[in-house]
Symmetry: C2
Subunit: 512 residues, 2 copies
Amino acid sequence: MLQITPEEGQKRVKTRSLAVLDLGSGTFRLVVYAYQPGRFFHLAEELREAVALGEGLATGRIAPEALERGRKALRAFADFLWAAPVDEVLTLATSAVRDAENGALILQEAEALGLAPKVLSGEEEARLGALAVANALPLGDALVVDQGGGSAQVSLLRGRRFAWGRAMPLGALRLTEGFLPSDPPAKQEVRALEREVERHLKALPLPPGLPLVGLGGNLRAVARLHQKRQGYPLDLLHGHYLPREAVEELYRDLMALSLRARAELPGLQPDRARTLPAALAFLRALLRRTGALGLWVSGVGIREGALFTRLLPPPHLLPDPRAFAVDNLFLRYPFAVEHRERVKALALALFEGLRPLHGYGEEERRLLLEAAHLHDIGMHLGYHEHHKHGAYLVLSEPLYGLTHREQALLALLVRYHRRGNPEPGGFRSLLARGDRKRLKRLAVLLRLAEMLERTRSGRVQGVRVELGEEVRLHLQAEADPWVERVEAEKQAGLFQEAFGLGLRLLWAPTSP
Amino acid sequence: MLQITPEEGQKRVKTRSLAVLDLGSGTFRLVVYAYQPGRFFHLAEELREAVALGEGLATGRIAPEALERGRKALRAFADFLWAAPVDEVLTLATSAVRDAENGALILQEAEALGLAPKVLSGEEEARLGALAVANALPLGDALVVDQGGGSAQVSLLRGRRFAWGRAMPLGALRLTEGFLPSDPPAKQEVRALEREVERHLKALPLPPGLPLVGLGGNLRAVARLHQKRQGYPLDLLHGHYLPREAVEELYRDLMALSLRARAELPGLQPDRARTLPAALAFLRALLRRTGALGLWVSGVGIREGALFTRLLPPPHLLPDPRAFAVDNLFLRYPFAVEHRERVKALALALFEGLRPLHGYGEEERRLLLEAAHLHDIGMHLGYHEHHKHGAYLVLSEPLYGLTHREQALLALLVRYHRRGNPEPGGFRSLLARGDRKRLKRLAVLLRLAEMLERTRSGRVQGVRVELGEEVRLHLQAEADPWVERVEAEKQAGLFQEAFGLGLRLLWAPTSP
């Protein structure tokens, strides 16, 4: 009998912990990652303080109250790490500390607390953000834009490598302080801000036609507003696509709102309400300047970039981000690795054998194998609804390298790997032409593979597909695999629906 | 740093496996439980075959095709157990095998397959169902009614003990075959069926005024229809309350439907469509006869009863089903046991110290401690949304001894244990008067306790509550617990909302 053995598949590799203290100009964050080099990571802790350290930056000096908030947050973080130690601490300071005349006061405090702070140059900051994007989005070439509170970094990725990056004084807090004193912002104030953004962007050698990626809490806040308006079916920001028209529409609707009215917007964190107009105007100017049709939102940034420098040897790139993400999810819910491998092999044999019928290619093959990889992770949550639990888990975190459409398809395949009629349901709006059929066909293949492993014993050693008036599956086994045959036969109706042919299962005896 | 260590809290007790083959008159099932005696269990496997073995029972003999379906299912089950062995197999046959002249043919097949079948007498069958109910519903005295395919058992529970039980030939399949030949059933056919049910019920010494509990797939199917109609907010059948009017309404609306129309009803399994009228008419007659205002639906029955005979020594009763269920859930997602215990202790101290303000009693105290017990189980699914994941897990399976209202409150407390404004949301329809306030207040207490353990280090050793113009919490610690104090202070607004008073946090130094 198969039990839930959570440690199964977890190699005996020591799990390390890394704390990253990100002393941003808007927000200070302490995050703790647990990781196994090259293999696995997850976020274990996060503390967030909206210090608005960049307050006063327009004057060149951090304001005294902002300094005090920053010191207080540092003391809290140091205190946390004292009480709950980690293997390594990286303390990274960015624009406010870098640019302000009195930024050293924050560094002194951090030093005194034993936090060994490092001030990132604009280029280093850009590099870490770009590294995170290179590992987490399926883009080889891209313009990466990270708008923080004090500065905004623009970088160019070429073939997943950092080509160049520059920090500009275009952070959302700095722009708000420098250009938008009125509440709501006056039109001429917004114009002046936009001219400033354009002036800086003009100075950059921006190659045309590249996908644009946006990082940082300010742009994520815009994306969240967009999702709320749409009734977006996924609770994931990373990988969200924000089309240019949506930004124009948000700009039209929200720029004239007062701070109070903005604070009421559903889904907006209170400290983001203040900087929303500056973020929106920046984003709109960026889209206009680059001519991009939209922006890919990244949920990862310099903190994850820092993690990747520890997780992976130089150049710190995951060989295959998508494969890593799928396996990283599996490793949270490891279950029956040998069964999983057999289901994958059977699904693949069915996919290949039925190729003349479906004509699918690499995209579908990969999705099917990923679904087979993850199909049983929901077992950790309970047997009865494990297909539904598995789908919930697949959608519970960003999967690097998969689009939201692909992630939804993956969740649906897991959802339908044992029962139910495969239908897109609430995810229809994410899907593309042909996906309904694609879902049905791939779900049938996965389900057949699962039923051929119904006893999870490996006694069906392989399957040969014979095409004809009907489809015959010859199950290679030493003795008649009765349960597998009976259970797979129950899928004949769905198979007929998906492929338009009858299905027959036969035992093909193998020698012991 | 705290990592997810899935094996934490799992004592090194051998997990055993028990297969129960339930050869029912409507359905054959193979279930496999994994369990640790006295401590823990979960369902690990289930195969279901709608054999309708009781077909022909009205003639006194199982029909040849039904026999063949039964044999085939037995072979599949035996084959499964051969390929995936378990520690123990219990094969239990009920009405169809017990009552039919040729029932022995099924037993012979089972014997030949090495399944060592046992025919349960009507009383034994009743006893196992009643045992499951005694462990899984918060009722001391109850009438327990288990309608199978061939027979229906009525038992009396007194102080959770089986007082008496009897099997009657009132199974849904038998009634359908014997009384409802027409499609849709004719009125006079239904009358005759009802007279038969009444005749049998009259012969029983039914004490008035007892809660009524319904078991078995046929009654669960009725409950599912009721939930679908209501748009019930939980995906749980066990513990559902089916009021008498709802049964009358379903009877009115569905009795005249044809088999085909019934098969289209959302949420009804195909094989239940056939027996639905008999199940509905039986249930309605039962409610009328007993005068009960409704029926508690049980998701557990003789298979769980059999499990309890292995999980627990005689009399096989869980000392505290509710405590067992909550801990059983925790043990699926064990996380930071020491932290959990400290949060419970802190929550309890806050609850007791604030008693003059809230005036709550045992019910609320228990719920708060259960929420503290489970608050972090969602960490297994990811840090960022672990409060939401935890709520999902709390609602993912029946929790014995909790009503659906209590289970929803528990999920909401877990949901709001770290952020968000505690509101009932979609669960409003399940809640009682005062629950909105109750939720808010208990959520604040839990959240404060969690924040006082923000570093999960135990350095806040205790808390003393001082009531006055404002509420002061004195945190007992050797050094100033900065993070805990700062994080708890952030809850002052919510505290004010919940209790109408300000909140101050102070360090009360203790000697090292």
